[in-house]
Symmetry: C2
Subunit: 546 residues, 2 copies
C-alpha cells in the first residue's frame, strides 16, 4: 500500500528526511509543508552572505521547491503552516496562503520545525531596529539595512556562534561593531582558558567586546537605537542583532499529546520517534542525549538535524537506523582564527560530577620548518581512566582536522592511549611526525602516570606553602617579560645549577607553553624535588591577563 | 644502578628514543652513535629545501649534537659508525673518525640505522651524475648541482613518494623534469583509479611522465647522462635522481645473531625488542605488522619511526608500551594537489585474499556555497561486514582531514556504520553538514544493503548481455561529451520518460560523479529494472581515458 508521509519544515531536517525517504520509497506520497517562502536553504551561510563572502543570494538556496519536485517528486507546499497536529486521527491542520486552512492525513509524519530566535520581554524589544537571524527574510532585512548608505554601527547582543559570526561579518562590512555578552565570556562550549583567545581576536579586529553585562532595556532614538545594560552602560547603534539563543518552534504541538521537555523540545527515542507512534521529530526542535554525560540536552546544529532527518526517513521506510546522541562538535571561523570543540567542557563535567583532567598543548599546524606553520592551542579533557571527555582547539590552519580526529576517537569510545597510537598522515606541509593529536595523548598519559606534574595558573592561588617560582626559558625570553618573583634558570642549564634550588621547597616551573617546563619537571622530580609545571606557560599567563 | 644505553642512528627513531629515555631516566648513561655529521634532521624536508620552499639550510636541523647534550644530557658521537654488535658480550664496535675504532658496552641498545637508497647493479650506475637522497650530504650534493648555472634538466627514476616529491621540487626550480616509473603507475599505495589524478597533475605541470618502462642502463655523456629504458627509449639529462626505494641499513648486524627478515629487516616484537633481550630496533630497519592484513611488511615512514623510538625507550625504562602495527597512512603534496591514503589498497587485499567493496565519492572540501570549496575524490574500501580496510583521497584542501578521520576509525576497528555516525565539526568554511566522511559511510552502506547497485568502469567489459547505456545528466552536459552509444535521460525527467526504457534489458546509468546515477538507480530499481550505476561517473571515465 502506498504510504502517505507528511513533513513539517522544509530545511535541514525536513528536506533531508524527504529526499532520503523518496530514495527509499519511490511510491510514497510525500508532502512537505513550509511556513515560509523558502525550503532547503543554507542557514549556516546567512551571516556570510550578509558579510559578503557569499556574494550571490541564490547560492543560499540549496534546493528550490521545483528542484525537489523534479528530482524527488516531493509535493512541496510553501507558505503553508501546520497549525495543529491531531495524532488521534492522524492528520494535520494546515494554514496555507493560497489554499486557506485545510486538513491533511498521514500514515507517518516527520516534524522538523526547527527553533526560533529568542526575543525576551525586555522594555523596548519591539523596536524595528532589533533584528534576529534565522531565515532568508531575516537575512534580507539585515542585509537591506547594512547595504544602506549612512549605516555605520551595529550592536550584537549575545556571544554565541551566531552572534560572533554576525559580529565578524558586520565588521567585515566596515561597521563599528559592539558585541555584548551577559556571561563572563562568549561561546559557551569553550572554557575560559580557551575562549580568551577568541575574544582577543575580536578585539584585535576592532570589535568592542562587553562581557558580564546583560541588556536591561532598548529605546528607539531618532535614527538609532539605544541599549541600556545592567551596568547602566548605554550603547547607541544604527541597529541591533539579537542573538541570545533559540527556543524550539513547537508551539503548534501543545495540544497534540506529544511529550515535550522542560523547554518545549520534543522527546524522541533512538529512532527519532516521539511518544506517539508514526510521529517522528528531528533537528533543533528535539532533545537529544548528550553523548558524553548521557543527560538530555538540546544541541541545535545542522549536522545532527541532517542526520536525524535521514534516520527518521529510514525508520519510516522500515530500516532500523538509530541516533545515538550528540557530542556537540562545533566550529567557527573568527576572522583568520578557527575555534572548534567537541564533547564536554569543564563546566559540563562539573555539573555532571565527573572528575576530569585537563592538558593544553601548543603545537603548530604542520612541520615548523616548512612554510606557513601556524600555532594552535589544543585542550584535552579526560577522565581518570583515560577516557576522553572533550577537546577544544583555537588557532589557524589544521584546528578543524585535530578536533575532527578527537571527535572520532570520542565517538568510538577511545582513550588517550588511542590518541598516542593513531597513525595520521604526515608530510611536512600537513603535520608533524608526531601529530598534535598524538602529542596531546602523550601529555595526557604523562599526567595520568604521574610523570608530568601539571597545574593550571588558576590553581596558583590555592597553594598555601612557600614555593620557588622558576622560569626555565632563555635569558632573552625572561628579559622580555616574566612572572614577578620568578628566578630564571634556563632548562638547558638546570642540571648544572640545580643546587641553587632548595630541595625542601615546592618548585613551580613555567616556560613559554609548558614543554620545557615538562623537561624541567622531569629533571627535578627525578632528583627528589616536588615540582609543578604551569600548563600553557607564559603564553597562557599573558593571555589570561588580557 | 645506573643503566648504560647505546643508540645507533641519530635521526627519527634514534633521537626520539634518546630524548624520551632521558625524560624517563635522568641517571642513565645514554650514548648516541651517528655515522654522519648530522643528527635529528628533517629527512622529510629535504626535497623542499632543494626546491626552495624551505629556504634556510639550518631549518633542516631539528636538534644539533650540542642541543641534545644541553637539553637531554645525551653523549652524541657523530662520525661514529657502529660496525659490529656483539650481543653475547653486550658491546658494540665503533669506528670513529676522531677516536679510531673502539668498543662500548651496554645494558640496553636501540638500533635505528634506517634504510639506504637502493642502487642496483645496472650498467653505468656508478656515474657521478646519478644521485640518491637520504640525508644532508645527499641534499647538499643535489642542491649544489641544481644551483649551478647551465643545469636545465633532470631525470627522476622511480615514482614513489620521494621520486614524486623530487620531480615536483626540481620542476619548481624550473628544470625540465622526466619521471620514469617501471610499474604501470606511480605511487604504489594508491590504486590506479586514484593515482591517475596525481599523474595528470604532474603532466599538467610540465613533467614528462614515462610509465611501465624500467631502466636498462646509464651512460655518461660529455656534460650529461643518458638513460636507456627497457623499451630502448633514450633520455638525456644533466643529472639523475635515483629513487627506486630503500633497503634496511642492517649490514653491520649480519653476524650479531639478530633475526633478520627476507629483505634484511630486523624482526621485533610488540615492545620493539628483537629476538635478543635488551636489543631494541625501530624505524625503517624493522619489519612491522600490517595493521589491516596482519602480515609482516616494511613501511618506512617517519611517524612510525618516531613512535617506535619512544616505545623502545619506554620499555628500556620499564614501561609496557607496545606498538600494534602500521597501517601505512601516508600523504604527499603534488603541486596544489594533496594525495593521501591509509590502510590497505585493492592490490594488498587481493594478495591477502580478503574480499572487499569499493566506493568513490566526489565531495567538495566545504559547503559549496562558501568561497574556495575544492573538489576531491575519496575512495573507501571495506569488507562484507562493513569493516573499513582503507581509504584514498586526492584533491585540494581538506583531503588530509578526511584521510586522518578514516585512519582513526580504522585504528579503532570501526565500520562504515561508524562513518555515518561521526559527528564532525561543521560550519560553511570547514565542511558540510554531512561531512564527506559521513557521505562515504552512507554510500558504502547503500552498497552493502543492496540499495545502490554500483559498478566500476573496468567491469563494463565483463558484461556479456545486451544493455542500455543511460546518461542521466542534463542535456547540456551530455552535449559537451558523453560515452558512445549512451542515450540521454536527465534524472529529473526519468519518472516521465521511464517507458522509453526496455524493462527486460540491463540498464547502465552514469552521471558526472555517481550521485545522480544513484538517484536514477533508486527510481529504476524500485520500478523493477535491473540497474547498474557507474561509480565515479563521467569524471572517472574521462580521467581514466587520460
Ligand atoms: C545564522 C545561522 C547560522 C548557523 N550556522 C551553523 C553552523 O555553522 N553549523 C551548524 O552546525 N549549524 C548552524 N546553524 C544551525 C542550523 O542551521 C540548524 O541546527 C538547522 O538548520 C536545524 O534544522 P531544522 O530542520 O531543525 O530547522 P530549520 O533548518 O530551521 O528548519 C525548520 C523550518 O521549519 C519551518 N517551520 C517551523 N514551524 C513550521 C510549521 N508549523 N509549519 C510549517 N513549517 C514550519 C520553518 O519556517 C523553517 O524553515 C546555524 C543557524 C543559523 C540561524
Ligand atoms: C627525502 C625523504 C623524504 C621523506 N619524507 C617523508 C614524509 O614526508 N613522511 C614520512 O612519514 N616519512 C618520510 N620519509 C621517511 C622518514 O624520513 C623515515 O621513515 C625515517 O627517517 C626513518 O627513521 P629511522 O630512524 O629509521 O632512520 P633515519 O632517520 O634515516 O636515521 C638513521 C640514521 O642512522 C645512521 N646510521 C645507520 N647505520 C649506522 C651505523 N651502523 N652506525 C651509526 N649510525 C648509523 C644513519 O646515518 C642515519 O642518520 C622521507 C625520507 C626521505 C629520505
Ligand atoms: C540538500 C538536502 C535536501 C538533502 O538532500 P539529500 O539528497 O539527502 O542530499 P545529501 O547530499 O545529504 O545526500 C546525498 C545522497 O547521495 C548519496 N551519494 C552521495 N555521493 C554519491 C556518489 N558519488 N555515488 C552514489 N551515491 C552518492 C548519499 O549516500 C546520499 O544518499 P542516501 O541518503 O540515500 O544514502 C538537505 O540537506 C537540505 O535541505 N540542505 C540544506 C539545508 C541545510 O542543511 N541547512 C543547514 C546546513 S547550511
Ligand atoms: C626532535 C626529536 C629529537 C624528538 O625529541 P622529543 O623531545 O621526543 O620531541 P617530541 O616533540 O616528540 O616530544 C615532546 C615531549 O614533550 C611533551 N610535551 C609536548 N608538549 C607539551 C606541553 N605543552 N606540555 C608538557 N609536555 C609537552 C610530550 O609529551 C613529549 O614528551 P614524552 O615523549 O616524554 O611524552 C626527534 O623527533 C628528531 O630527531 N626529529 C627529527 C628527525 C625526524 O623525526 N625526521 C623525520 C621527520 S622529518
Amino acid at each position: 500500500m502506498k504510504k502517505k508521509v507528511l513533513i513539517v519544515g522544509g530545511v535541514a531536517g525536513g528536506a533531508s528526511a524527504a529526499a532520503r525517504l523518496r530514495r527509499l520509497d519511490e511510491e510514497a506520497e510525500i508532502i512537505l509543508f513550509e511556513r515560509d517562502d523558502y525550503i532547503s536553504f543554507a542557514n549556516c551561510g546567512l551571516p556570510y552572505y550578509i558579510g559578503g563572502a557569499i556574494n550571490k543570494r541564490e547560492r543560499l538556496m540549496v534546493q528550490t521547491p521545483e528542484d525537489m519536485k523534479a528530482r524527488f517528486n516531493i509535493d512541496v507546499r510553501i507558505r503553508s503552516e501546520v497549525i495543529k497536529l491531531d495524532t488521534d486521527n492522524k492528520k494535520v491542520l494546515v494554514k496555507s496562503q493560497s489554499r486557506g486552512t485545510y486538513e491533511e492525513s498521514y500514515d507517518s509524519i516527520v516534524l522538523s520545525p526547527g527553533a526560533k530566535a529568542l526575543r525576551p520581554n525586555i522594555p523596548g524589544i519591539d523596536s524595528k531596529r532589533i533584528l534576529t537571524l534565522r531565515n532568508i527574510p531575516d537575512t534580507d532585512a539585515i542585509k537591506g539595512i547594512v547595504d544602506q548608505k549612512g549605516v555605520h554601527s551595529a550592536i550584537v547582543i549575545g556571544g554565541g556562534f551566531v552572534g560572533v559570526e554576525m559580529a565578524e561579518n558586520l565588521r567585515e562590512r566596515g561597521l563599528n561593531v559592539t558585541l555584548v555578552e551577559a556571561a563572563p565570556h562568549i561561546l559557551a562550549p569553550f572554557d575560559t582558558d580557551m575562549v580568551v583567545l577568541a575574544e582577543k581576536k575580536l578585539v584585535d579586529h576592532g570589535i568592542r567586546l562587553i562581557l558580564s553585562d546583560g541588556v536591561k532595556s532598548f529605546q528607539d532614538l531618532d535614527n538609532q537605537v539605544e541599549v541600556t545594560l545592567a551596568s547602566n552602560t548605554k550603547l547607541q547603534g544604527d541597529f541591533i542583532i539579537l542573538a541570545i539563543g533559540v527556543t524550539p518552534d513547537t508551539g503548534f504541538l501543545k495540544e497534540s499529546g506529544l511529550e515535550l521537555g522542560p523547554k518545549g523540545h520534543l522527546i524522541v527515542n533512538e529512532s527519532m520517534e516521539t511518544n506517539i507512534p508514526h510521529v517522528y521529530a528531528v533537528g533543533d526542535a528535539v532533545e537529544v542525549l548528550d553523548y558524553i554525560t548521557k543527560t538530555k540536552m538540546a544541541i541545535p546544529l545542522a549536522g545532527p538535524a541532517n542526520k536525524q532527518g535521514r534516520i527518521a526517513a529510514d525508520n519510516i521506510a522500515g530500516l532500523n537506523s538509530t541516533y545515538k546522541g550528540t557530542q556537540g562538535t562545533a566550529i567557527l571561523k573568527i576572522f583568520d582564527l578557527t575555534a572548534a570543540s567537541t564533547g564536554a567542557n569543564e563546566r559540563t563535567l562539573q555539573r555532571a560530577n565527573l572528575p576530569f583532567h585537563v592538558i593544553h598543548i601548543h603545537p603548530v599546524s604542520h612541520a615548523s620548518y616548512y612554510p606557513n606553520a601556524y600555532p594552535m592551542t589544543l585542550k584535552l579533557i579526560f577522565g581518570n581512566d583515560g577516557k576522553i571527555f572533550g577537546a577544544q582547539g583555537i588557532g589557524g590552519d589544521g584546528v578543524d582536522k585535530r578536533i575532527d580526529v578527537i571527535a572520532t576517537v570520542i565517538r568510538l569510545g577511545g582513550s588517550i592511549e588511542d590518541l598516542t597510537e593513531l597513525e595520521l598522515a604526515y608530510a611536512p606541509p600537513f603535520s608533524s611526525a608526531k601529530d598534535p593529536v598524538n602529542m596531546a595523548g602523550y601529555v595526557a598519559q604523562n599526567v595520568l602516570s604521574g610523570k608530568a606534574h601539571m597545574m593550571v595558573w588558576d590553581d596558583l592561588k590555592k597553594i598555601d606553602e612557600d614555593y620557588i617560582f622558576v622560569d626555565v626559558r632563555t635569558k632573552v625570553e625572561f628579559a622580555m617579560g616574566h612572572v614577578e618573583g620568578a628566578i630564571n634558570i634556563p632548562v638547558d642549564d638546570l642540571r648544572q645549577r640545580i643546587q641553587e634550588l632548595d630541595p625542601e621547597k615546592l618548585i613551580i616551573v613555567y616556560c613559554q607553553v609548558g614543554l620545557r617546563g615538562y623537561f624541567a619537571d622531569r629533571i627535578l622530580s627525578q632528583k627528589g624535588y616536588r615540582v609543578l609545571n604551569l600548563t600553557g606557560g607564559y603564553t597562557t599567563y599573558s593571555i589570561q591577563g588580557f
